[in-house]
């Protein structure tokens, strides 16, 4: 077979494949349609394989879950729908107090990091605005450390686990 005949044959095969595609929507085409139909539900994702659509994501209620499945089922070329959508009621907003404490803890931790390198005998931890010091320090060193820690405005400096020499 000459090169010319070969390329003609390939072209024919390619054309035949395209015609076949027209007759039955490909997964890619189904995917495009399904995505379009689900555009009002951004929290739902769809995956198409051999005409089977798998839905996933998180929605607030059962009605939305059922509606997503119904919408997709009617799409041309869809053989079946696997509905893996999870129903998670909207989480209540996090209490602002917690966030404030966390931010405060970050500020405290930065301050503690700056200070702690000069006090190798002490282990300093920050939690919920409270600085906890454990380990062993000389009285003079501990006084310097306590002054530096108090200047960070913690809720409390807990040194009950500290040994002062």
């Amino acid at each position: 077979m000459s090169n010319k005949q070969l390329s003609t044959a390939i072209l024919c095969m390619a054309f035949a494949a395209m015609v076949a595609c027209k007759a039955k929507p490909t997964d890619t085409q189904i995917q495009a349609k399904v995505s379009e139909q689900l555009s009002t539900m951004p929290e739902v994702t769809a995956d198409v394989k051999d005409g089977v659509v798998t839905l996933a994501g998180n929605v607030a209620d059962d009605a939305t879950k059922a509606s997503a499945e119904a919408t997709v089922k009617s799409t041309e070329g869809v053989k079946s729908v696997v509905n893996n959508i999870m129903v998670t009621p909207a989480a209540p907003p996090e209490p602002p107090a917690t966030t404030a404490t966390n931010t405060a803890d970050d500020t405290l931790r930065t301050g503690v990091t700056n200070i702690s390198k000069d006090f190798p005998g002490a282990d300093i931890k920050v939690d919920a605005g409270v600085i906890t010091v454990t380990g062993e320090l000389s009285a003079a060193k501990w006084k310097t450390l306590k002054q530096a820690l108090d200047a960070l405005h913690p809720k409390k400096v807990d040194a009950s686990g500290l040994t002062v020499k």
Partner: protein, 140 residues
């Protein structure tokens, strides 16, 4: 005995020594004392009284932040490290490169305060950089 009673001598001394913006309030079992002392000596005295009432500051019932009013721009500061040199850094943070050292007990000049913790200083050799304020004591 309330915390204000336990630390009455400390609070009274802070008041009588002319501590400005003195704030004393109790929150969740901890007495928070803050203010600005007129001199480094007053601050030292307040910490000594605190240490007398609560030996070694181990009760954890006081958080005291006394700043020194004389720590203003241009003020002389003494390097109060234990014995070692004080690192002078390019920026405010221990992750910043060290650009110089100030010797123990050396006098440096306060240029400005970046924060309560990090002060921009000039050493006697003319080096400028940031040092941690816990090692700098204003000199009267």
């Amino acid at each position: 005995m309330s915390l204000q009673d336990k630390y009455k001598e400390l609070i009274d001394t802070a008041k009588s020594a002319g501590t400005s913006n003195l704030q004393v309030n109790e929150q969740e079992g901890v007495l928070h004392i803050s203010g600005e002392a007129p001199s480094g000596a007053v601050k030292d005295n307040l910490w000594n009284i605190y240490g007398k009432i609560d030996p070694n500051f181990l009760s954890g019932d006081v958080v005291m932040d006394i700043k020194v009013a004389t720590a203003v721009e241009g003020a002389k500061l003494e390097v109060v490290t234990q014995s070692s040199n004080l690192n002078v850094r390019k920026g405010p943070g221990i992750d910043q490169p060290v650009v110089g050292k100030a010797a123990h007990a050396e006098m440096v000049t306060l240029i400005s305060k970046h924060s309560d913790q990090w002060w921009l200083i000039r050493t006697k050799d003319g080096e400028e950089g940031y040092a941690h304020s816990q090692y700098l004591r204003p000199v009267e």
